[in-house]
């Protein structure tokens, strides 16, 4: 019984690991942006708490649609918050006029275009969409 149980867990974790590999997402900035960025700083930028890059430029955080796999993974792994927790957080910020959540775009290409054309922008996309117009600063 126990053996079967452990085998099952092993198989499930393999499957989870596999889906994770296939669904890898990345945080990207403009190739010209040489700011220091770690997971904690990136989280703060997407929560509106950090408003400037270490190079002094203003931060404009953007993302694909809330319901997409990339955004969901980002919420869970990098921000460590559920959608409703994030909404509760943003409702407080929005309605006291202190900020706005990251603007959402329809596709990875649109996010990539914004990042490639503007040094202030930091975005998240699926790892598969990465090309040399953008620089990857975090994988998750």
């Amino acid at each position: 019984m126990n053996k079967i149980f452990y085998k099952l867990i092993f198989a499930v974790s393999l499957m989870l690991a596999a889906t994770n590999v296939f669904a890898e997402s990345v945080v990207i900035v403009n190739p010209m942006n040489d700011s220091k960025l770690d997971k904690e700083t990136i989280a703060k930028m997407f929560l509106g708490k950090t408003k400037y890059f270490s190079n002094g430029d203003k931060v404009v955080a953007i993302s694909p649609k809330e319901k997409g796999a990339t955004k969901q993974a980002f919420n869970e792994v990098v921000l460590d918050k559920s959608s409703s927790q994030l909404n509760a957080y943003w409702s407080k910020i929005i309605f006291t006029g202190k900020g706005r959540p990251p603007k959402e775009y329809d596709s990875d290409d649109e996010v990539k275009q914004q990042v490639a054309s503007n040094g202030n922008v930091i975005g998240i996309i699926d790892a598969k969409s990465v090309d040399n117009t953008v620089k990857v600063v975090l994988r998750f």
């Binding site: 708490k49 408003k51 400037y52 203003k58 809330e66 559920s82 959608s83 409703s84 927790q85 909404n87 509760a88 957080y89 409702s91 407080k92 929005i94 309605f95 006291t96 006029g97 706005r100």
Partner: protein, 377 residues
Amino acid sequence: MKLKYLLPAVALFATQANAEVNINGFATIAGGFTSDETETLYQYGEDLNFDNDSLFGVQLSSDLDEDLNFTAQLISRGRDEWATDVEWAYMSYQANENVRFQFGKQRTPYFMYTEFFDVGFAYHWIAPPAGVYDLPLGTVTGLNTILSGSTGSVEHTFEILFGQENADAFLDGQNLESEIKDLFLFSWTVNYDWLMLRASQTTADITLEVTDLDPLLAGWRQTPFASVADALEFTEDEATFTEFGMRIELGDFQLIAEVTEFESDDNFTGDQESYFVSAAYRIDTVTLHLTYGADETDNDFSALAGVPAGVDPGLDALLAASNLTLQSRFEDATYTTVGFRWDFNPAAALKVEYTDLTDDQFGQDASLLRFAVTTFF
């Protein structure tokens, strides 16, 4: 401020044809009733009432440039027969990473939840504890300077607000006129990972026009004891609001506590001290919460001390009415609220809560069941 003042705000948006206007909104529809016909609590009675805590708000905001923003927020409340009021209308300027200015009409951040008191989606209760948050005044027009910065992993925020306003006030379930002059607010918030601490103090010269009190005041003014009228009325009295707040957030567990004090120069309202402690635990989409709080109001009868009793029936009647008015403000109550919030959708939640209040002053114990749906977009 009523709707007519919105027109200039709309005009401002219209002239900024290129600027993008963001529209957001929130709504809470709440109902409640007390367990017995003799009981009333937070304006609820035995009959189901949907007016007291139901409201909706719409916010327009526009970035005029990268650092300059205009925000306006309108709220319609069930308790005001859904009349629409402008709650916020201000320009903000982010001077740099550490300095922000907000100029215009804004919520006065007396306590931890006052700024987003109406945004039910932002907290676990149907409404933040009434003992602390049943303030007669909500907004002020002026300049708020917000300074923020961090030392290591500790973030500090200071707010310095100057303002004045002639506005509607809400006291004991009644709308009345008010005037706030020379308001000065200072707050200091410290954020460290799982811990938030806040301290604030507000002083202002406040006038509350309580028309129910006018016959009594007029009566005193016809006697040699006109000074009693001055001592009872709430006219240009200096008032002080003091607060200490704390929030601990560890994973799915939250602990919130706040202590507040309201003091004002001689008038009928008395000095109030309140506190509450609230614990909340999140299990997936459901948050369970438990709150305990206490409210105490003391009143000062010294204004009546110099009036001789038993000399004149007219004076005696005025004394009796004044004593009653002052006594009615006394408060010594504790309450427990237990409830849950269920986030059945990422942008909508159902809340149910039960409050049991013990009134050690007048013995008017009461229990109240409330339920609400709250959303934002």
